[in-house]
Amino acid sequence: MRFKAKVLEPAEIERALRRMAHEIIEKNKGAGDLALVGIHTRGIPLAERLAALIERFEGVRPPVGVLDITLYRDDLSEIGVQPKVRETRIPWDVTGRPVVLVDDVLFTGRTARAALDALVDLGRPKRVYLAVLVDRGHRELPIRADFVGKNLPTSKSEVVKVKLRETDGEEGVELWER
């Protein structure tokens, strides 16, 4: 693989998240019953950051849950590897709440679909939104994000690498070529 370009600098990530937080508040008409669910792995720190931003703007911090979608993947019978099952912890009631699923990259839409299935198994949310830092196109399912940090048209041979200080020790979104 070879590096092609840095498409988001740390400051740009920060700005994008602030804008998304405002959009979420606007769409939801306040912080209300709002809850955030971060999808393993990088969706979790992003969800935490969005929760902190919403708190800064609205004075209310929405609860954040973590979701592992391994047991909901649609390719478990085909893949040759055994994905590690990680923690799902949503210690509040999903039912009746507007929930924002948060992930770093939206690509084929399969992860988002699995997350949606997992979420509705946990209860009956009032509404489900999808917030992603990067939408790189190439959807294979009819899924769209409600809140997008950056739209990044890519080719299938390219790889989008999101690096966050909580998980990777550095910040940035990079584009690589396979």
Binding site: S77, I79, E87, T88, D121
Partner: protein, 305 residues
């Protein structure tokens, strides 16, 4: 650490593999805490329970584990007597195999039958108990339960008490717990101890085994043992080896009490203890489900097309 093809016993296992499986079991336990206790991970897979020995609890535990993972379950029950008549164990398995099943949970009355099955079947084989030899998922759920209480088994003394010679639970625990660093003791009357139990220290001195134990596992005493002459009398067993509150005081304070079930209250264990605060029998049952879900996940997912 390669993919797990079968779970027959712990031959070739190392600590890393045990911990990985128990970690998955922890994730599965979270599923069991949801209002809807089901995930689609094994949708499209079929699990067969093939029991040549009667069992309610273990069979139901495996069935539930499979169904909670959205697998389909089919059950076959055969009497051990059909094996003696020569009705072929192999034929039964091959008939099931012709239906393209993915996993076979087998319980059989003679040691080695799960290994034999694994030789003939294309799917994954889980040993749910082969004669007196092994019952690996029981040991895994026991380890899981113990770790919940003790956090780590490193250097911990675990005492197994009772009819050790005829116990596949004892053999599998003696094989597994040392992989997590535990020191296993097995105590019982001289007629009910095997000549050798790899992984455990054998003793007829119950007090020595219980002294300072971090946990105690009590085994079921079957009436047949008296008939076989392995044990002179029940009265003597109760007098010398029943785990009572007084005897249990020799163990560490608060040491959890485990039993694979079903319990003979006031035989191997004082009735009050069976339902007392130290007993972790209910936790064991719950752990059993989570562990079996994890086992099925490890065996069926990532087995490559």
């Amino acid at each position: 650490m390669g993919a797990l093809a079968h779970l027959l016993d712990f031959a070739g296992w190392d600590r890393a593999r045990v911990e990985s499986l128990l970690e998955t079991a922890r994730m599965m336990e979270e599923v069991l805490e949801r209002p809807m206790k089901k995930v689609p991970a094994l949708k499209g897979f079929t699990v067969a329970t093939v029991f040549f020995e009667p069992s309610t609890r273990t069979k139901i535990s495996f069935e539930l584990a499979a169904r909670r993972m959205s697998a389909d379950v089919v059950g076959f029950s055969g009497a051990g007597s059909s094996l003696a008549k020569g009705e072929s164990f192999k034929d039964t398995l091959l008939t099931l195999q012709a239906m393209a099943l993915d996993a076979y949970v087998i319980r059989a009355p003679v040691a080695g039958m799960a290994h034999q099955a694994a030789r003939w079947l294309k799917g994954a084989v889980v040993n749910a108990g082969d004669g007196r030899r092994a019952h690996p998922t029981q040991a895994l759920l026991d380890a899981y339960t113990l770790l919940e209480e003790l956090e780590s088994l490193e250097g911990k003394k675990i005492a197994i008490v009772g009819d050790v010679a005829h116990s596949r639970v004892a053999r599998s625990n003696a094989e597994l717990l040392p992989l997590l660093g535990a020191e296993v003791w097995a105590a019982g009357p001289v007629g009910l101890l095997p000549e050798r139990l790899p992984g455990a220290r054998l003793t007829t001195d119950l007090d020595e085994a219980l002294s300072g134990a971090d946990a105690v596992m009590v085994l079921r005493l079957q009436r047949e043992r008296m008939d076989e002459g392995a044990l002179p009398s029940l009265r003597e067993y109760v007098a010398e080896y029943q785990v009572t509150r007084q005897r249990l005081d020799r163990a560490k304070p608060g040491a959890p009490l485990l039993h694979p079930g079903p319990m003979n209250r006031d035989v191997e264990l004082e009735g009050a203890l069976a339902d007392g605060p130290r007993s972790r029998v209910e936790r064991q049952v719950r752990a059993g489900e989570a562990v079996r879900m994890a086992v099925l996940y490890h065996l069926l997912v990532g087995r490559a097309a």
